[in-house]
Symmetry: C2
Subunit: 367 residues, 2 copies
């Protein structure tokens, strides 16, 4: 492999292992797995999920739904509040695949009921504590009103209640993640009990990467939707979702300058490559990536005494101990585990496997 | 215009005004303008610079240099420490255009001297206080060593000393920016005096957007390289480089949810659209964008009582007063001035002018 510019490496073996592990866990728990594909956004990586038995997926935009539909996926949920301005796109997709949309209010339901030409599977998003969006589980007035609108619409089919526990990302203890998960499952189950008489088939959908990775018991819902686990990253390792060894992507960045007087290495690799997500350290310092070394079959665990500590648009600044600094020279490649693999993959727009194969990312295609 | 997804609007008139104002200022100061094109990365916007008399440009990568070379630019500086791993690309470019590279150490100079097949204009980057990279102006040993290597090389031509005062971005007072600028100019001039006997044609190149926008006297150097001023943004307005009225780009984002109980509007528009740069406010709160209203000929100044306060991957959260909240409904578009236009343009990969024309961004092309 001849790497000359910032490049996102993908360890296919680790990635496939992550994919199969979660599929096995879903099976054991007797829940359907509807993985979120926004992390990888690659039809090739998608095929590895198919090999693991996955037949339904989650995406975060209609464009992403179109992309994966064009690669043979026929059961796709867009897990973002339905954007009624894209009605044409919704109708085009709904004509050809089993399209699932998420509504967070009755206004959206009414607009969909008016504009839809084909059946759409509709989930109500419940705000179970993250407080980004969704209807509160106690707001039975709004929920009933919305379900009534769905019932009267020709093309809306009520699939069930959905939640996203984004607040698990702030945790670092399994017990805390478990507590959040239990609270959410019980809130969703209460709603299920209440509305099942009117919608006997209603399902429950849940599942962020921390809870799906850290918890053993994922029963009590019908499907789970983790996404980041395909690659994991330093944020997930910090939470406790994965080991360093399960992180399946790594940036290769050219060394363009070394400043021994302040123990700094300057990389070609900045916020347009990594994105700007940061992992604050216990001592208050900021981590934008951890440094590894390549091995014959992949890469090592992160090294001590060397860390990516700052990013500007194209520059990365690595702080290194004398011993680590001495190992690098200008023109070398330095390998960095990313803080947030979803955003890094989106910024890098493609992957290079350890075998040298180029894999596509939707954001690398023409708009 | 039928906007249905997050879209970056470009006010062509404002943008052209920004371009012409800086060109006139350079003329008055009798310095050459070599604008940095990394902010817009668009051949169409490049043409507006050409109309303003610009014939030399700055970029931040060899790929960007290739792009603008393919659009007729023949005098291009890559203002990033030369990446010796890209020697093939350097040689391809140097064969066809006047290519300027930046070196920050003698190792790079030696590698270039060995690998170059065509003449390259070489600038030494001096660290005048930003301390990201560059050679300290007092490090005459390293500078002399490097210049000696350049002199002995066949294909390296020494153009002069270059600096980037990135620390002006932390200022908000003209006097502070003036002090930084004066210090840098005087450091560069000392080097010029010292090395002019050996390199009679050596030039000085300087110039970030804050100093080039805020200061009247830009004399004392040979060329200036501001870039962000083509669009400006909230960061530059905060520094004092521009008025709100000079910000030439604005995001249009669909409203997908409204939460009156906590005065929040949820936008389709997150960190994959805006990037994650933030502008901390005086009261400690975080600003990810300010809200404007469209007018017949562009947009208003930012409104009070409403602000983009949080971004996740695809969601934006806007906090709004009761009065502002009451103005919006689901399916509306909300217009947001960005915190950092370079990163937002890079993430958005293209522009829509107020006249509805689509303009290209390099990052929207196939890799």
């Amino acid at each position: 492999m001849n790497i000359t510019v910032p490049t996102l490496l993908l360890d296919q073996e680790k990635c496939r292992r992550n994919i199969h592990k979660m599929a096995a866990k879903a099976d054991q728990n007797n829940v359907k797995l509807r993985p979120h594909f926004k992390t990888h956004q690659s039809w090739q990586v998608g095929e590895w999920f198919r090999e693991a038995g996955v037949d339904r997926i989650t995406v975060s935009s209609l464009r992403m739904a179109e992309y994966f539909a064009s690669h043979g996926w026929t059961d796709i949920m867009v897990a973002f509040p339905a954007n009624i301005l894209e009605m044409e796109r919704i109708n085009r997709l709904a004509a050809t695949i089993k399209l699932h949309l998420v509504a967070v209010n009755s206004e959206t339901i009414e607009a969909l009921a008016q504009g839809l030409l084909h059946p759409v599977y509709t989930w109500l998003k419940i705000d179970t504590g993250y407080h980004r969006t969704g209807i509160l589980p106690t707001d039975h007035g709004h929920i009933s009103l919305t379900l009534e609108s769905i019932k009267q619409s020709v093309n809306l089919y009520f699939s069930g209640f959905l939640a996203h526990d984004g607040h698990t990302y702030k945790q670092t203890e399994k017990a805390a993640v478990q507590a959040i998960h239990n609270t959410t499952v019980s809130a969703l189950q209460e709603l299920q009990t209440k509305y099942k008489p009117h919608f006997p088939d209603l399902k429950l959908s849940l599942g962020d990467t921390p809870s799906c990775s850290m918890l053993d018991d994922l029963s009590g819902v019908d499907e789970i939707r983790p996404g980041n686990y395909v690659f994991y990253d330093l944020t997930q390792q910090h939470i406790g979702s994965c080991t360093f060894d399960e992180i399946a992507v790594c940036m290769a960045c050219p060394v363009v300058a070394i400043h021994p007087e302040r123990n700094e290495i300057i990389l070609y690799g900045g916020s347009v490559h990594f994105s700007k997500d940061v992992l604050p350290q216990a001592d208050g310092s900021l981590c934008f990536g951890r440094i590894v070394e390549l091995t014959e079959s992949g890469w090592t665990a992160p090294k001590e005494g060397i860390m990516l500590v700052s990013l500007s648009q194209e520059h990365g600044i690595v702080k290194a101990s004398d011993a680590e600094l001495a190992k690098y020279k200008i023109g070398d490649l330095l390998y960095v585990l990313p803080v947030h693999s979803c955003l890094t993959a989106d910024a890098m727009r493609g992957y290079t496997t350890l075998e040298g194969e180029q894999l596509e990312h939707l954001s690398g295609l023409l708009k």
